[in-house]
Amino acid sequence: MTSTTNTGPVSDPRHVQLTEDGKLRHFLTIGGLTKEVLEEILDTADSFVNMGEQSVKKVPLLRGKTVVNLFFENSTRTRSTFELAAQRLSADVLNLDISKSATAKGETLMDTLQNLEAMGSDMFVIRHADSGAQHFIASQVAPNVAIINAGDGRHAHPTQAMLDMYTIRKHKGDFSKLKVAIVGDILHSRVARSQVQALNILGAEEVRLIGPKTLLPETLKGLGAKLYTRMEDGLKDVDVVIMLRLQKERMDGALLPSEGEFYRLYGLTTEKLNYARPDAIVMHPGPINRGVEIESAVADGPQSLILNQVSYGIAIRMAVMSMAVSGQTQQKAQLNQEQAQEPQDNQNAQTNEETSR
């Protein structure tokens, strides 16, 4: 009777983000998505990636739509790239730094959302410190509002993972021949979780996680990765090295003795990079701590793609936003069609969809 029941405020997140025919309508997590959807995101981003060099940097895909950037946690890079992405899609953008406003006045998350919905928003781009917050919000907002996850707790940062996949595909090609190592504070990293899922779905040959055991719990094995505690073993023959940012507060929680020791053991230096394949690429979600997780010579060196990642990030975010809006529109059309229940409605739905584009 009860063991399989699941009534409550949130339903299965892996289904929440897709329309009935498997199109993206929210973008909450990489988990549960198909290779086709991920490749569609990468391909769509491809069509946007050179826009930054054009004289008119806009397409009208989100014209007339309102995108609200809701950041419950501070962010500069992610928020700016989402803002640029929305603007390049011709959307109206509202930036709200919630960490400093509403919740500080005692407003609950639900109150904040209802207020923003009442303003007629079409999409929320959300960063929140609680894992699963965006799933919760997606299950509560009006059906036509798309939710894009810009990072939730330790759970997921799917647009970051997709821009990393984009970087890898562009510079290394076929995933099935690639060994990828992710290094550093895996325990607290939503980026690493999303990357491991994406790499597995896209068929990478091997995914490795490297770090000291305090930051690399055994329980992560379930994600589909091999765990290494020594850089020389973990980096051996890899094609891609992804470094993670180390938060300074990790020293306080008895997770690490000192930044110096961490750098000596896990900092990416020219010397340690030599364990990897000679043509290996180096990535980092930023912002980087020079001399803590990465040596300047490596960060600025020929193998580093750290700045490319940032510009690809705009294209990926444009891709995800435009796909989610189109998924929402399709779903709305389907709903209308079901409600009308008339044979010629099929045609109408198609027309609706076309006009919305």
Binding site: M1, T2, S3, T5, N6, T7, G8, P9, V10, S11, D12, P13, G31, T108, L109, M110, H128, D130, S131, G132, A133, H135, F136, Q140, D152, G153, R154, H155, A156, R190, R193, P217, T219, L220, K221, G222, L223
Partner: protein, 425 residues
């Protein structure tokens, strides 16, 4: 009131009775079983054909929310919910607001309960002042006013010396101590069972070792102090094994598991359903199976409700930001009957874990229907299906994962001290 209940299937595990037998009640006590005494003339006769008649259930550790935030529940709503769930006695938690660390709070609860004349409430007092883990509470005073045990709930007692003193002092008065074993520091900011699932969901994990370490520390001190102890809401296979070993060594320890941990596993939280956010967290299937086996073997002699009512808004938040707990008083019987249907327990065994088990664990005078005992009874229909809705529940708590679902088994009457305190319309 003189009362006869006839035609029902009487199950009284304390007397090993399971047969159709009438029960006669006078002056609030059981007068006779079977044949009515000569000249007995009941004012009311309840025809209980098709019903199971048992001692009223006893719960260890329900939160009745008073004193405290009344929008989450209060003595009126929750003792009514207790009766509707078959409970005639609730040993309520001390972590109210203010907490039950003074005779005044105990008296306040008792006065209100007496006015309500619904389920009986036997408070569990605080083990330390303010549950802060540093100073002994006035245990003798609490016991004198009516506390049946003391507990520090999940609040840590950092110093092992203070803990030892607490146990020595409690044992001076033969006062039972209830523990919810958990290493506060290993728990940290966790909200889910540590493992692959919590890792994938990005939720802070609480390792099973947090329970084992908390338990181990207390077991050593029980051995040296000789205090009588009960462990509440165990959640791991390891804890069941440790309690079993302690019992084999002859230590005076009993234990319970709450109904949610017998029914659900951590798999339920995949999807961040905050209705399944409970403390301790739902664990693995292996743990659940060990808990079930422990209940069957009697290592865990009590099934508790762990009733913790919340308003709807308390769960309307991202998982870790929601408030933990489930409102369970009115559905524990139905979920217990699932265990009977699945063949884990016989019906008398289930009733034993809800009546005689808790009565023996805390040394209470209720929980059986021997002649002369208080006439606290529960009459339920084991086969009837009903819908769990806002309107069908009496608790103020909206937090049950069963909301909207159909369950089997429902209490029809609850009798407290010989009076019909609850009768389902």
């Amino acid at each position: 009131m003189k009362l006869t209940i006839c035609g029902g299937r009487l199950i009284d595990p304390a007397q090993q009775i399971d047969e159709q037998i009438d029960i006669h009640i006078a002056d609030g006590r059981v007068l006779a079983l079977g044949q009515a005494p000569a000249g007995f003339n009941p004012e009311r006769t309840i025809h209980a054909e098709g019903l199971v008649v048992t001692p009223g259930f006893i719960d260890i550790g329900a939160h009745l929310r008073e004193p405290g935030p009344s929008y989450k529940g209060n003595l009126r709503s929750e003792t009514k919910a207790a009766l509707a769930g078959g409970y005639t006695t609730i040993c309520c938690r001390p972590d109210t607001s203010p907490c039950i660390d003074s005779s005044a709070v105990v008296q306040q609860i008792q006065d209100k309960v007496e006015l309500l004349s619904q389920a009986k409430v036997m408070p569990i007092g605080a083990l330390t002042q303010g549950l802060k883990g540093t100073h002994l509470s006035n245990m003798a005073g609490l016991q004198h006013t009516g506390c049946v045990a003391v507990s520090n709930m999940r609040q840590p007692i950092e110093s092992s010396l203070v803990l030892r003193r607490c146990l020595e002092y409690a044992s001076t008065f033969d006062l039972q101590v209830v523990f919810y074993p958990e290493d506060h520091w290993l728990k940290a900011d966790g909200c889910a069972n540590e493992g692959a699932l919590a890792s994938r969901l990005g939720l802070g994990g609480i390792p099973a070792s947090a329970e084992a370490i908390g338990l181990s520390r207390v077991l050593h001190l029980i051995e040296t102090t000789g205090v009588k102890a009960h462990f509440g809401m165990l959640s791991t296979a390891r804890a069941v094994e440790m309690v079993s070993n302690a019992q084999k060594r002859g230590l005076p320890v009993t234990a319970d598991v709450d109904i949610a941990h017998l029914i659900y596993t951590e798999a339920e939280i995949d999807g961040y359903n905050s209705q399944f956010y409970v403390e301790p967290p739902l664990r693995s299937a292996t743990d659940r199976d060990a808990l079930r086996q422990g209940v069957k073997d009697g290592v865990l002699s009590v099934i508790s409700s762990a009733h913790l009512p919340h308003e709807e808004a308390a769960k309307m938040a991202p998982f870790a930001a929601a408030e933990p707990g489930m409102a369970t008083l009115e559905t524990t019987l139905s979920q217990g009957l699932v265990l009977v249907e699945e063949g884990l327990l016989t019906l008398p065994q289930l009733i034993e874990r809800l009546t005689d088990g808790p009565a023996k664990a805390l040394g209470l005078s209720v929980g059986g229907l021997s002649v002369g005992q208080p006439a606290d009874l529960c009459l339920f229909d084991a086969g009837i299906e009903w819908q769990v809705t806002h309107d069908s529940l009496f608790t103020a708590g909206e937090n049950t994962p069963l909301m909207g679902q159909s369950v089997k088994g429902q209490v029809q009457f609850a009798i407290v001290d010989g009076e019909v305190a609850f009768e389902r319309a």
